[in-house]
Amino acid sequence: MRFVRFPSVVTVGSLVGFVGLWFVASTYHLIPYLPTPIDVVLVFVEHPGPLLSHTLHTLVRGLVGLAFGSALGVLVALFFGWNRYIRAFFMPTVVAAKSIPVLALIPIFILWFGIGEKSIVPFVVVGCFFIVFVISIEAIANVPTVYVWAASAMGASGTQHYTRVILPAIVPGIIGGLRVAAASAFPLTLAAEFLGAQQGLGYYIIKGVALLQVPEMIAGVVGVTALAVAADSAVRLTTGRLTSWSERVVP
C-alpha cells in the first residue's frame, strides 16, 4: 500500500510546492512583476473577450500556415526522394533548412509582404515547410535497403517501388514531422506577431510588456501553449490508425 501511496504524495507535493512557490515569489516580489496565479485566472474570468479574439487570429494564421507548409513539405520531399541525383543537387538546401534559425527570416518577410496576415502566414508556411520537409526527407533516406531489395527480387517496377514500398515506409516519419510542425506552427505565428501585427496572441503579449499587464501576458502564453498542445494531440489522434502497423509511431 505504501508503495502505491508514496509516489502520489510526492507528485501532489510537487504540484502544491510549484503553486506555493509561485505564490511566495509573487507576494514577496522575488521575481519582478510576477503576478499571483489568482491574477492570471482572473484574466480568463473577467476579460476573456480580447484574449479569445486574439487567440482566434493566431489560430487561423497558424492553421493556414501549418496546412500549406506541411503539404508543401511532404510533396517536395517526395519529389526529392525520387532519385539520388535530385537529392544530391538540393543537398545544401536540405542542410541549410535543417539548421537555419527561421526567426531570422521574419524581418525579411515583413519587408517583402508587409505587416499582418500578408507576412505572417507566408512565414509560418515556410517555417512548417522546413520542419516537415527535413523530417520527411530523412525518413526517405532511412528506408531500409532490404525493403527495396525485397521488392526488386519480386519484380517490382520503379514506380511500384515508390508507391508500394517507399511511401508506406515513410508514413510514420512524415507523421512525426507533422506533429513537430503542428506544435511549432503557433509559436512561429507568435514570433511573427511579436514583430508585425495588430492582432493575435503575439501582439497581445507584447502589448502586455509595454502596459505592464503581466497577468494578461501569462494568460496569452497559456493560450498559445493550449493551441500547440491541441494541434499536436489532434495530429496524433487522427493519424494513429495510419501507423497502427508500424512498430514505432514517432521516429
Partner: protein, 260 residues
Amino acid sequence: MLRPPGVVSWLRRRVNPLFLLGAANLVLLFLLWLGLSESGVVPRLFLPSPAEVLTRFGQVRGELAENTGLTLLRVILGFGLGCGLGLAIALLSGWSRNVQRALEPVVQILKPIPPIAIAPFTLLWFGLGLSGILFLVAWGCFFIVLVDATEAIRNVPKVYGWAASTLGATRLQTYLRVVLPATLPGILGGLRVALVIAFNQALLGEFNSASGGIGEIIIKGYRFNRVDLLFLGVLIMVVLAVVADQVLTYSFRRAVRWAN
C-alpha cells in the same frame, strides 16, 4: 619524363560527383540572386545585390565581428547551461525514483510552453543584458535535452548494469562509468535540435532588447530600411548556424567514439 601532377585524377578520386551537384545548386542560387537583383526585376528596396551586401560587409566589418562574437557567446553559454542542466536533471531523476516523481509534474507543466513565448518576460525579469538572453537560450535547450536524455537513460540495456555489478562496481560507479557513457550517444539528436532553438532564442532576445548581437543588426537593417544590412545579418546567422551544427555533430561524434 615527369609524371603529370595528377590533380585531375586526384580530384576524380576524391570529389564525389554528387557533391559537385550540390555545389552547382549553390552556384545557381547565387546566380539567381545576382540576376534578380542586378536586372532590377526585384526592386533594390526588397532585394539588395550581392555587390551591395559585400560592400556593406567591408564597411561594417569591425562592428559585425563584435556583434557576431556577442551572439555566439550568448548561444554557446546558454546552450551549455541549458543542455548541462537538462542532462544533470535527467541523470538525477534516473538515479532516484522520488526525484523523478517530484520533478515530473512540474516538467509536464513547463515543457509544453513554447520557448518563443518566454521571450517577452525576460525583459521584465532580467532587464537588458547578458543574463536575460542566456536564460532565454538555456530555457529553450533545457527541456529538449531533459526529455531526450531521460529517454536515453531508460534505453540503456539492463545487461550493462548487471555486467558492471558482477565486476564489483558500486551503484554510483555503475551509474557514472556505465550508464552515463551509454546515454551520451543517444542525445546527439536532441543537442542538434537544441542548437537550432538556441540560435532562434538568442535572435528573439536580441530583436527585443537592443543589447547588440546579430539580431540587433537584422532589426536595425529592417527598421531603418537598410536592406543590405538586413540581408547581411540573415546571411551571417545562416552561416553561423550551419557551421555550428556541423562542428557540434563532428566533435560530439569524436567525443563519444565508444558509441561506434
